[in-house]
């Protein structure tokens, strides 16, 4: 447990360094291990920049694994942070990044793209992104007016839209019989296997400023958790803060999901885990979620692609298989 006596900037620094280091270590592991057989020590040397006997190792590490590891870091951070922000905005510890229709909308968009035979990038991802924007717009319309700031209005609209989209998705899936069905299923479960460096580059450019902005608003999130009335009387512009947090987070989650599918559990479990360990101050939690979520995702992706012999397990299965027991454990702990 971080010493409560330590000053806030020092705590933030400590958390950033600690989780940042964890992220780097996970990254090195992610680059050095994988589904092909190669001595770990050889791989490690290659990662450290030394010459290796086999030039193919370099190709595997830098051209195949590197995009995946970088993307995993970005996705994990985005989803964990997304969960944190939505839990603060909606004042609901069960909120997770897909709650405002992002999962439903992007899935429908992606399925349509896949059925049309488009390739993953930019075709399917574009459709997925547009899909999530559409559902978000519908939700905002439904909950608009004074009701928008009532957290339950947003939540209810989100749940309803996701349920409706779920039905549409099941209908589309049931109508598909051929190989595209597999592509759809893999997308729905979350899939980092098709990512290349160009996609990582685009996402990094789009996401990093958003992360900075969300950190800038971390104390505002603290204040919002006292209730919108108190926050307002302490100088917070509720409407601007809510819309900014909602907009930026929805954007980051949408754009990530449109590239990687619906990776689950990171957004729900990570914030809780970190809140349990570090307390509720979002100025500490934002960097922790960012780096911690990234670390978790890198490790889950590593397990997904290196564990089975026959071919990789979808990484969404790993995040759920690890995430669900952890979540249950947390629930039991919190009841004590």
């Amino acid at each position: 447990m971080i010493a409560p006596r330590a000053s806030l900037p020092r705590r933030i620094l400590f958390v950033t360094l600690f989780f940042g280091a964890a992220l780097c270590i996970a990254g090195v592991f992610g680059l050095s291990l994988g589904s092909s057989e190669g001595a770990f020590s050889e791989m490690l040397r290659a990662v450290m920049g030394q010459e290796t006997a086999d030039p193919m190792i370099g190709a595997i590490i830098w051209k195949i694994r590197l995009p995946r590891v970088l993307m995993a870091a970005l996705v994990g951070g985005t989803l964990a942070l997304g969960g944190l922000v939505f839990q603060a905005l909606l004042r609901n510890p069960l909120a997770e990044p897909y709650i405002l229709g992002i999962s439903g909308g992007s899935a429908i968009g992606a399925i349509i793209g896949i059925l049309m035979g488009l390739s993953r990038f930019p075709g399917v991802s574009l459709f997925a992104f547009l899909g999530s924007l559409s559902t978000l717009a519908v939700i905002l319309l439904m909950a608009s007016g004074k009701g928008m700031l009532k957290k339950d209005a947003l939540l209810l609209s989100g749940v309803m839209i996701n349920a409706f989209c779920g039905a549409v998705i099941m209908f589309l899936v049931s109508m598909t019989q051929d190989a595209r069905l597999h592509n759809i299923i893999f997308w729905l479960m979350g899939d980092l296997s098709l990512i290349g460096l160009p996609q990582v580059g685009i996402l990094a450019i789009l996401l990093l400023p958003c992360f900075v902005l969300l950190f800038y608003l971390s104390h505002t999130m603290n204040l919002l958790l006292l209730g919108k009335e108190m926050a307002q009387t302490m100088g917070v512009n509720i409407v601007a803060a809510t819309l900014t947090l909602l907009g930026v987070t929805s954007f980051t989650v949408s754009i990530t999901v449109s590239h990687c599918g619906l990776l689950g559990f990171v957004g729900l479990v990570m914030p809780h885990l970190l809140r349990l360990a570090l307390g509720a101050d979002h100025r500490v939690l934002v960097p922790a979620c960012l780096f911690g979520g990234g670390t978790y995702m890198i490790l889950c992706d590593l397990l997904a692609r290196s564990l089975p012999d026959q071919g990789e397990i979808p990484v969404g299965v790993i995040t759920a298989m690890i995430g669900a027991p952890v979540f249950i454990f947390l629930l039991i702990q919190s009841k004590k």
């Binding site: 806030l8 608003l217 204040l223 006292l226 209730g227 108190m230 009387t233 302490m234 100088g235 509720a280």
Partner: protein, 278 residues
């Protein structure tokens, strides 16, 4: 004496209903001003309008002779602090973290606290008697202690006016007195203006410098408790029979509800009540 708050011809509607009808009054600096009235009288709406949470279209609200819309949100937060009736406790902030949040109007967006901020927070916690609770989580302390933590947070805003919406509503007797005494000390020691909404007429009577009785969005009476707490005013406001006599505590008025079994009043008894108001 300066005017802390000045309300002028305030009207407010909620859809079709008129919640506040043409209210005008002012609160002097350093006064203990309590608003009472039955449910639905508009007390909470009035409080929220003063706090800047609820918007209004007709009328004017001025804080220290400056109209409220001329203040920026943060400036207003440095002058006026608000303690709501209920607040959420679903996230595990510590008492100290919540109290420190009160410094927000004085800091940047990221709110990195400095030494002076820590000292102010400690002083506020000492004042409200919760110093030992600083590392406890908000959901692990009693209702009364939570209330005092929120008040300590309000004090950290370093305001000149403190607004409280039914602060004693869910507290037991000892805590009720404790809060009210705290407010009294704020007024006496820190020269703060305390504006409160209360549902407890007697508690209000024991502490208020000025009482404002609201009924259906209108002022039924305003002034010192002794002057305002008359049988007529109370019957007009609450619509039931109330007995008003003098409490042994400082001769302040005391209001008692009258059970049905006592209202087979003889004419003599009835005369007794009327005589009181001479």
């Amino acid at each position: 004496m300066k005017t802390a708050l000045s309300i002028s011809e305030l009207r407010h509607t909620y859809g079709e209903d008129i919640t506040l009808k043409n209210l005008s009054f002012s609160v002097g600096e350093g006064a203990f001003f309590i608003i009472i009235g039955p449910n639905g009288s508009g007390k909470t709406t009035l409080m929220k309008i003063i706090a800047g949470i609820e918007k209004y279209k007709n009328g004017r609200v001025s804080v220290f002779d400056k109209p409220d819309h001329r203040y920026s949100r943060k400036e207003l937060a440095r002058v006026m602090a608000y303690v709501p009736q209920v607040f959420p406790v679903d996230f595990p902030f510590t008492v100290k973290e919540v109290v420190m949040m009160g410094r927000a109007p004085h800091m940047g967006v990221l709110g990195f606290e400095q030494e002076p901020d820590f000292r102010i927070a400690e002083a506020a916690m000492a004042f409200t008697g919760i110093k030992g609770l600083s590392e406890r989580k908000m959901d692990r302390i009693s209702g009364g202690e939570r209330q005092r933590a929120i008040i300590a947070r309000a004090l950290c805003q370093d305001p000149r006016i403190v607004l409280l919406d039914e602060p004693t509503a869910s507290l037991d007797l000892s805590h009720q007195i404790r809060i009210m005494d705290l407010m009294e000390r704020l007024k006496e020691e820190k020269k703060m203006t305390v504006v409160m909404v209360s549902h407890d007429v007697n508690l209000a009577a024991l502490y208020a410098d000025t009482l404002l009785i609201l009924k259906d969005g209108e002022a039924v009476g305003m002034g010192s408790p002794a002057r305002v707490l008359t049988f007529e005013n109370l019957e007009k406001a609450y619509g039931c029979t109330l007995l008003v006599d003098q409490s042994p505590l400082g001769g302040l008025p005391r209001v008692s509800p009258v059970p049905q079994k006592f209202i087979r009043a003889s004419r003599a008894d009835h005369e007794l009540h009327r005589g009181r108001d001479a």
